[in-house]
């Protein structure tokens, strides 16, 4: 698969993602509305909400993600080495220089976000800057820039924001059922409503899982791709391989992260429990290192 196929595939995924989220929000709105005895109002509300939300997600997703991560923009004088590394690799990849951010946390991690190369950001943690050698940092930045060049960032950033919205809506739904379940329980209701309520609860529980699955489909393979095209850019796979070793060895947790943004990072910042493994957005780091060294 070459670069242009990949960009095409990413565009299709972006559209699918929008359609899926759109439908999911409307269905949730309908069920939600049914519960309050006006399903059409719910659906219409959700429809309008979806439009506004998708638009906002498309144009502001990078800012939303940056706000969640707690990253701060830097200028050249704040960290000349990082700046030059990004500049040089952008020249090599033929990309405009993205906005550069630092996350003031000791954990070792990095991410890229945005809607296209002209509106992209690359963020690295302070811990990464302090612990990596120059060539290793170069490897990590090249990996992130590959995400930018492939338009991975658009799908991934949108997935973060749109999946985040599903999680949020179903959360509201679950809370309101619990709340009103006790206060309105006295009013007699048909069994039809009961069934719909069940579906609603089911949807509310399933939505985050579905959102997880989308992200899974989106990002596992692309981590390998970004690793290899990043290595092609620096002409030095060992740099990224060693960086990944250090990143894997680091157990410092990242403080500003949520389920919705986890897949953006070079290493999954959430500690893997049972669900962490089942819905893991990242291939195992050992496998990535092995593939880099094999080349």
């Amino acid at each position: 698969m070459n670069l242009y196929d990949q960009i095409g595939a990413n565009r299709r995924r972006t559209i699918l993602l929008f359609i899926f989220t759109f439908l999911a929000i409307i269905v949730l709105g309908y069920v939600f509305g049914f519960y309050f005895e006006d399903p059409y109002l719910g659906a219409t509300g959700a429809f309008i909400f979806s439009f506004a939300y998708s638009g906002a997600a498309y144009f502001f997703s990078d800012r939303i993600v940056l706000a969640i991560s707690g990253a701060k923009p830097i200028e050249k004088k704040d960290h000349p080495l990082l700046f030059r590394t990004v500049e040089n690799l952008c020249i090599g990849a033929g990309l405009p220089v993205p906005k550069i951010y630092i996350v003031e946390e000791p954990a070792l991690n990095a991410f890229a976000a945005g809607r296209d190369p002209q509106h992209s950001v690359v963020a690295v943690t302070r811990g990464l800057l302090e612990n990596l050698e120059d060539e290793e940092l170069e490897g990590v930045v090249a990996h992130e820039l590959s995400h930018v060049r492939n338009y991975d960032i658009r799908v991934m950033t949108l997935a973060a924001v749109l999946a985040g919205s599903l999680v949020m809506i179903s959360d509201i739904f679950l809370r309101s059922t619990r709340y009103s379940g006790s206060s309105r329980g006295g009013r007699g209701r048909g069994s039809g409503a009961g069934v719909l309520l069940l579906i609603g609860v089911l949807l509310a529980i399933l939505a985050p899982l579905i959102a997880q699955l989308i992200k899974l489909a989106i990002s596992r393979q692309r981590e390998y791709l970004a690793d290899s095209s990043g290595a092609l850019l620096t002409r030095y796979p060992e740099g990224l391989a060693r960086a990944l070793e250090k990143i894997a060895a680091d157990k410092t947790p990242l403080r500003h992260v949520s389920e919705a943004t986890a897949h953006l990072y070079i290493k999954n910042p959430l500690t893997a429990g049972f669900f962490g493994n089942l819905f893991s957005t990242h291939p195992p780091i050992e496998e990535r290192i092995r593939r880099l060294r094999q080349a």
Binding site: R84, E87, N88, L89, I91, G92, A93, G94, L233, R235
Partner: protein, 184 residues
């Protein structure tokens, strides 16, 4: 009658194909030119640093006249370069001349310690890194373009329209590893 339609259809299809082919040739060529402009920016930046460097070194090492000549020569060769080949030669000459300057600077501790000199050295090292990345991007585009115009049936249209193979911008042997000037 049927045959006429058939021929008409075939002509339209071929016409569309040629149109598409022509556009992809033009696009690819534009990519090569754009990539070249990235190199050009860095080459310019590099030669802009030269007079400053010469002045600084002269301040400490007046009698080392020989070393400046080569740098100046390389610089004017670079300014006069018209083709990729000429730029490439001038660039390699400049790299060699700069190496001599930095080697000579070794003998002048005051020069080595001067802030100005250190800054220039950093700037030059950075520019050389950027040149090598720009070269990587440019050569990649040249390769794509050359493959495009040489493969069949593109080659028929490309040669008829006078598309010529683009030239690679190559570094001298052994320069590809990090062009870093180390002192100490």
């Amino acid at each position: 009658m049927n045959l006429t339609y058939f021929i008409l259809g075939a002509v339209i299809l071929i016409g569309l194909f040629l149109l598409w082919l022509y556009n992809s040739l033009v696009r690819s060529k534009a990519r090569v030119e754009e990539a070249w402009s990235h190199i050009d920016v860095q080459l310019k930046r590099r030669i802009d640093l030269i007079p400053n460097l010469v002045e600084t070194v002269k301040g400490y090492a007046k009698h080392e006249k020989g070393i400046f000549e080569n740098v100046t020569k390389a610089r004017s060769a670079m300014l006069g370069a018209k083709t990729v080949k000429e730029s490439e030669e001038a660039d390699n000459m400049l790299t060699g001349a700069l190496k001599t300057i930095f080697a000579v600077a070794e003998n002048y501790p005051d020069l080595k310690a001067s802030v100005n000199f250190k800054e220039l050295q950093d700037e030059l090292a950075d520019t050389e890194n950027k040149i090598s990345y720009a070269r990587q991007f440019y050569n990649g585009n040249v390769r794509d373009f050359n493959i495009l115009i040489k493969s069949f049936p593109n080659v028929l249209l490309a040669s008829a329209l006078g598309f010529k193979e683009a030239e690679f911008f190559e570094a001298k042997e052994g320069e590809r590893e990090k062009p870093e000037v180390k002192f100490s």
